[in-house]
Amino acid sequence: MIDFSWKIGGEAGFGIMTTGVVFSKIASRLGYEIVDYVEYPSLIRGGHNAYEVRVADYKITSLKKEIDVLVCLNKETFDKHKFRLKKNSIIIFDEDDFLIEGDFYIKVNIPFKRIIADLKGEMVMKNTLALGASLAVLGGDLNEFLKIIEKQFEKKGKEVVELNQSFARRGYQEGLKKTKEKRNWLAKKENKEEKLVITGNDAFSLSAVIADCRFYAAYPMTPSSSVLTNLASWQEKTGMIVRHAEDEISVINTALGASFAGARAAVGTSGGGFALMVESLSFAGVAEIPLVVFLASRPGPATGMPTWTEQGDLLFSIFAGHGEFPKIVLAPGDQEEMITLTGKAFNLADIYQLPVIILSDMYLSEGHRTVSKNFLDSFINQYKVQRGKFIDSLKLPDQGKKERSKIFLRYKVTDDGISERLLPGVKGYYYQANSYEHLEDGHTTEEAEPRKDQVDKRNKKWQTYLENDFQLPNFYGDQDGEIIFVSWGSTKGVVLEAQKQLREKNIKTGFYHFNHLYPLDKEKIKDLFKRNKKYILVENNSWGQFGRLLMMETGIEIKEKILKYDGRPIMKEEIIDKFKIQNSKVKS
């Protein structure tokens, strides 16, 4: 069984990130599963940059604590990660840079600097050397790397391609030279399924296109920005219109205009930008304009830690917006769920005519995973664009001699809380989408009765949603386990891995993973928690926000909590360790 973790580190601004992605892609092309994670400062240069890839020949869903191969482009990398090394970890480094004392580790000395000086290369090419060397050490195939280089530098001409390839080869040769033990950790696998290597942001971007989203507006903000980059770069192919607006208020209001005009529309941002959109979210609520909001969190408050991860915006996003209006909040647990739930979000926004928030975070948004091409294809085949009560044509009104255009009852009170929504521009009708309280025909009102009716109508949508589209948490693991983990969103993968490891120790656990976060179906969820088990909440924040939401909505209180809020994702070891302590406590 192959399962190792490779990490490269160096000074920020020298191509570490690209190198990491290329490594992940190579591993995937060779037939392996990957989970990766990047650490970088909110600086363009200076500071430390590191990229970690876990590779396995079976399904994996989180990182692992031990680093098996560490590529140190500088000494800091070694110092920072020393505590995660095992005795026989492989260290690829340059002895001209620094020395590693003692008998630990398998040391692979590659004279990066000297080679670059010899071949008159640039400093960034350290990466190419390092990747070549890594492949050699791991017993990998160089070809995929060479192909990727070719594609990457194609536009810059043959010479550039060849130069870079020569560095890759040189690194590979050096690596082979320095490797005594032959490994098959990256040996090319046969009969491999076709796979994609994508981040959560990529998954959102792909699914938005599949869902026929035609308008995307954004203002760059880490960790959501690559959605903007993706969708903008695909514009000519997909025909989507992408607007990088002057600020987030303009972003959401352009999208609302677009959605009013009939196009599926979305916006993307992080907590700070989302905060600026909150007034307009309320506008979407009262005017009943569909919108998908992609909110990729980073640790706050305020500017916080822009390039790190946290699940800190849950309660904020749920209650965001003044006044009372329905919204739906979904939080995918991984790339696959991001694909399916994004598709669903666009349908829900149209069906219920309200804002749907997709909650992500840096860990999910910027980390890569392998996703099988089959999975995506079957999603594409199954996906139906459901626009609910949106209508794009209507019989011309017949009103006697002069055929005057007629007002359309945009906010008609109905049993399910949803009214027909007419495409603006359809001949013979008109109506206004009103930010004031309004009558069924959209005109402003301040009268008590219609006000009450419209509030009831809007609130009703939630009930309809709960009946038709809400989904209970997924359950993983053993129904008869004594311990039940409860988590949401991006913490899914790490809990699954912790469960696996615990099972190896003969500890059976169950796991409720929520991705339909709001609204919640009180009675159904209460049922799930009826059994007398030990529940443990796992969240990447300091308040246990989902635990509080669960308490509010269902009265269920989870007292045991594993909370992490230092900007880093939770490691499976942290769950297992915590669990041990708690367990021993119970016993003592």
């Binding site: 005009a261 506008f283 255009s405």
Partner: protein
């Protein structure tokens, strides 16, 4: 062919004598003369006495948030660029709360027409200063007189890429009708600043005040000369108010520069389904 009645919603609740009456009539008249029908035009209203026109004017419309009409209008235009899109806004709305959107919409030359009710006060919130208020103007929020100088929206728009910048007067409806028609017909970003007496909260900039200080630009005025236009627009700082098109140039509108919608509007396009074309990047 639609007539005035087609566009007439509720009876306006503006104060008798308010300049908004004149603007309301001018807009409806312009729509009629342009051959529009309530179902063939999109209007976005801001929040203010100005924006209250939402209930008096029939059209496919958004009654937006305070300050946000412009981005809404841009969104509509990009999706359905065959619809004429007009934003009807206040000076607090468009130059205060939403000031940033004005600049950036101008830069993009988005093909929308922004009609600003310049009454130098916040009417609907009962009389605080707007960014257009004259220095020293006393109001509820500035009882000692406002310290800020008035904004110069005309220059701000011209210098930042607007291709149609005009000034009208609520007291000269015929002139205004024409201006609005020209603004809507212009392909690109049109700003029409309309001098509008607020008879209730602005006792200084009333009809008399303007009648003494407005004048019409004549034939000899070269509206395509940007330097001249800017100097012309400077006059409002000296309380002289040129009426007419202060600046106009022809330049492709934003939506005309999008290859995506060369063939058909965004809303009418067929769904994109060639997904493999984008998936290949990720293998």
């Amino acid at each position: 062919m639609a007539d005035i009645q087609d566009f007439s919603g509720y009876n306006p609740t503006w104060c008798p004598g308010c300049g908004d009456w004149g603007i309301g009539i001018a807009i409806k008249q312009a729509f009629v003369q342009l051959g529009f029908d309530p179902s063939t035009v999109a209007v976005v209203f801001g929040i203010g006495c100005s924006g209250n026109m939402n209930d008096f004017l029939n059209a496919y419309a958004i009654h937006s948030l305070h300050g946000r009409a412009i981005p809404n209008a841009i969104g509509i235009k990009l999706v359905n660029h065959h619809l004429p899109v007009i934003a009807i806004v206040g000076d607090g709305d468009c130059y205060g709360e939403g000031g940033n959107h004005l600049i950036h919409a101008a830069r993009g030359n988005h093909d929308i027409t922004v009609i600003v009710h310049d009454n130098r006060v916040y009417g609907l919130t009962t009389g605080q200063v707007a960014p257009t208020a004259q220095k020293g103007f006393k109001s509820k929020s500035t009882p000692q007189g406002i310290i800020e100088e008035p904004i110069n929206p005309l220059i701000t728009a011209i210098a930042n890429g607007a291709t149609f910048v005009a000034q009208g007067f609520a007291g000269d409806i015929n002139h205004l009708i024409n201006l609005i028609k020209l603004g809507i017909s212009h392909k690109g970003f049109s700003l029409i600043n309309v001098l509008q007496p607020c008879v209730t909260f602005n006792k200084i900039n009333n009809y008399q005040y303007y009648l003494q200080r407005v004048y019409k630009l004549d034939q000899s005025y070269k509206k395509e000369d940007i330097n001249q236009a800017i100097l012309k627009a400077m006059e409002i700082n000296e309380e002289k108010f040129p009426l007419g098109i202060i600046y106009q140039r022809s330049k492709p509108a934003y939506h005309e520069q999008l290859s995506q919608i060369k063939e058909s509007s965004l809303i009418n396009k067929k769904r994109f389904e060639n997904f493999d074309k984008i998936i290949e990047d990720f293998v």
